[in-house]
Symmetry: C2
Subunit: 496 residues, 2 copies
């Protein structure tokens, strides 16, 4: 009988074990070590020999049966087939039935220092507190209610808590209501569907910042909206340019991230905020405030939200626990006038009935216990160090002629490379040396941003930031040297 | 100073406490007990007096400030205003901006026995096991990974487990892949978007059973699909009628619930299953199998899924843990050919990035530990008792001329009342006596079902089922007596 122990099984590989096992048996057949007509060991026996679960072996055998390599005979066992069957010919042509896939962000191989992901560092999670508070939640008498079917508006105790907190702080008005969503992404998706997909005709424009988080652009373009864009500089959206667009196109929706915008890190001044709110009212555009980073301020005083400045009460405010606590628990919320929330609740119910209640209950306990505030304080302290470090490293290592934003919070900053440097060529060179980032084209509302790139520093240590930017700088200089005319060395200018 | 303790605060009321407090203070002002210009106690003081949280009092004061009843003066305190401000005039006319709301199912007041909800009984949840296994999950080294941003395909260990299980049991083929969704509702929504919203033009028909779960109809009509319907009898979808519709309309999608269909409880025979799979292949319609109840079989042998019978490998299979474990944890999944899953993953990422990972990890532990199987066995034992009871009670109490289905599993059965009895009139009468159900119109794909109704027995005790049906029978007879010609008493026929 063949020696199955020579099949390499790697639990840390991407492919599941049963598939590795099936592939291994297939190789043994291909190489003639197992012959046609030979009987394979019973699943229980092979599982025992290889130290695997029996279902894993059954799954491997099933794969081999389906691909015609193995034949099962009830009561007799599994045998290697005489001839491999060909694939069934009647397979649907899915490509002709389905819309084309957008290309996803490719993962670079062997990246050691990644400026690409704007997620918090896993090592900074307050795991001990999470464990203690989750145990309190599941041991509480509310556990049964948490496990029962819930409301599309969200887990009632969390919804009440968030609305009382928002009302007490002046964020919510008596004419407002609140719904809990699976993070802000779902809030944006539900809004896009409400204002565009299900509501076609008329002016179907949405105004977005440019560059901007690509998930936001795609949500609105998928919903059939006409994407209008306003360039963002280091001070954020320019109200003068906004007014021109509002005047000319009379769009239906305006989405603004006033604090630590993704990807630029830009924050709108109080004056710009007031002006944007005024413009939204004057041109009757529905203002959506994407306010998911404002609690991650590391320097300077807080600014009021657009929602607070908007006396009309019409602003739709999006917030989330994902960026300030645990991104794997998908809990965000929307505060908006009651009719908007009623419509969102209807759309939410059709989309997925309601958000998961266990995470909602855990995050409520986190907020009520004060642990969220303490975690935020620690996050802000660490974030301030990272921010200082990344700004210093940008000034020190980026090639002459580069410009970069100087955010006072959040997780990202934006770099404009000097011509002829392109973000994509820099990425190719840097990723060979184990450093990556997202090039500007991933943040395009309408403009290409070929010289722009986002550096996300939220999940890195100061050492990683320094080393990463050193490599970026070296890669940029190597790339520049490959051109005929190398740019003269000049001090780096901050994009302010 | 006014006596605030006379304000009635009811923690079990629907309105949150801060709102009850604000309303109470407003009444004290309206009735002259608190006068214009009078100073209210500081929030901390009033909170202490009423035994409330200080943020609750702040929220109540904020509500009163926003509605112009209270004026806050920094450093001096809060005073009752001289004149109430009028509402701000610039409020957006949301009704003109947003599509009309569909009417939701109204909650009947004072219902003691509800046949309306097809959710499991809360008392049957295996809480001790949930607590033990959740603690294992959160104490495990995987906790940090669970809390980090995840994959649109789902929590990798759960996805792997489900796919290996499905492969071993012959449900999944090597050409298939799997994605985890927020229950089956999201799977249906993503499929509707993929095949209709984002893919307009051509034949845009979807074939649904009628009567059928309303959330399914609405998902597809919202996506712009043309709803085609096939009547369901006690044996389920009739393949002969299906063929006529497929021939005439050449629809794009066919959605079938082969086992214990909601609302009829009907199960397709093996012959009908084979025939439906053949027809789907012959007419090149994409077959979606909504298989969320099949594990709730109380009598008779299991039948293969359409997915297993479909040699072409094209069937899209939907499954869920929600109906067989905890509905409050939103975890379902789709098994389908790889190109379909790739598209669903793209749509899922735009919709909400990924499903909540804590619940996925908890349900994985539930399944792996064998607790899910044990819970299912207990659920089936209790379900068999309920089913016997509800069938006996229907035969005994429903008025002569009624017909009802005889499911062998699931949570619901379907009753057709004899003319002139209407489901809505019966509901009005029965709900006055504390019993409710969902009338047929809530399950309309195209037909009105005015004489039909769904009885969901999954969450009731045998005693409640008996008492509830006794009241339904009495209400039906009272309603019939209100007509001129009372139907003669005849034995009740089962709809088989």
């Amino acid at each position: 009988m063949a020696d199955f122990s020579q099949i390499a099984l790697d639990p840390s590989a991407d492919a599941p074990i049963y598939k590795q096992l099936a592939d291994g048996i297939r190789s043994l057949v291909d190489s003639g070590i197992i012959q046609s007509g030979e009987k394979l060991p019973a699943t229980r026996e092979l599982a025992g020999r290889l130290g695997l679960n029996r279902t894993t072996v059954s799954a491997a055998y099933a794969v081999l049966e389906h691909s015609g390599i193995l034949e099962g005979h009830v009561g007799r066992g599994s045998f290697i087939a005489k001839l491999a069957k060909t694939d069934h010919p009647e397979t649907t042509d899915w490509d002709s039935l389905l819309p084309p896939l957008e290309s996803a962000v490719p993962a670079a191989p062997n990246v050691q220092i990644s400026f690409a992901s704007s997620r918090p560092a896993q090592r900074s999670f307050p795991l001990a507190q999470f464990r203690r508070l989750t145990k309190e939640v599941i041991d509480s008498p509310e556990a049964a209610q948490i496990l029962q079917l819930g409301s599309p508006h969200g887990y009632p105790p969390l919804r009440r808590f968030l609305f009382e907190q928002a009302t007490a702080s002046g964020l919510a008005r008596p004419t407002d209501d609140l719904i809990i969503t699976n993070g802000c992404q779902q809030a944006l998706d539900l809004l896009a569907r409400l204002f565009f997909s299900e509501n076609r005709g008329g002016n179907n424009g949405v105004v977005l910042e440019d560059p901007v988080y690509h998930g936001l652009v795609r949500v609105f373009s998928r919903a059939g909206a006409n994407i209008l864009s306003i360039p963002v500089d280091a001070a954020g959206l320019d109200p003068a340019l906004l007014e021109e667009v509002l005047q000319q196109y009379r769009p239906r929706l305006l989405v603004v991230t006033p604090s630590f915008q993704n990807p630029t890190g830009a924050t709108l001044s109080l004056d710009r905020r007031k002006r944007i709110v005024e413009l939204a009212q004057r041109y009757s555009v529905v203002l959506v405030e994407n306010d998911i980073y404002s609690e991650l301020r590391y320097q300077g005083p807080s600014l009021p939200t657009l929602k607070e400045l908007d006396e009309s009460g019409n602003t739709i405010l999006l917030r989330s626990y994902s960026k300030v606590s645990f991104p794997g628990l998908r809990v965000g919320w929307v505060i908006a006038p009651r009719p908007v929330i009623a419509h969102l609740a209807e759309a939410k119910q059709l989309s997925d009935l309601h958000s998961d209640q266990l995470s909602q209950a855990v995050l409520l306990r986190f907020a009520e216990s004060g642990e969220l505030t303490r975690h935020l304080e620690r996050t802000r302290t660490a974030g301030a160090d990272r921010l200082t470090c990344v700004l210093e490293a940008c000034a020190r290592f980026l090639p002459a002629g580069s410009r970069f934003t100087r955010p006072t919070g959040g997780m990202s900053l934006w770099v404009e490379l000097p011509a002829p440097l392109l973000a994509d060529s820099l990425l190719r060179r840097a990723s060979e040396r184990g450093v990556d980032f997202l090039p500007g084209r991933y943040f395009s509302a309408r403009r290409p941003h070929t010289h722009g790139l986002r550096l996300s520093f939220g999940g890195l240590t100061p050492d990683e930031i320094l080393r990463g930017l050193e490599i970026l700088g070296e890669s940029a200089r190597a790339e520049l040297a490959s051109f005929a005319n190398v740019a003269p060395l000049e001090p780096v200018a901050a994009l302010v």
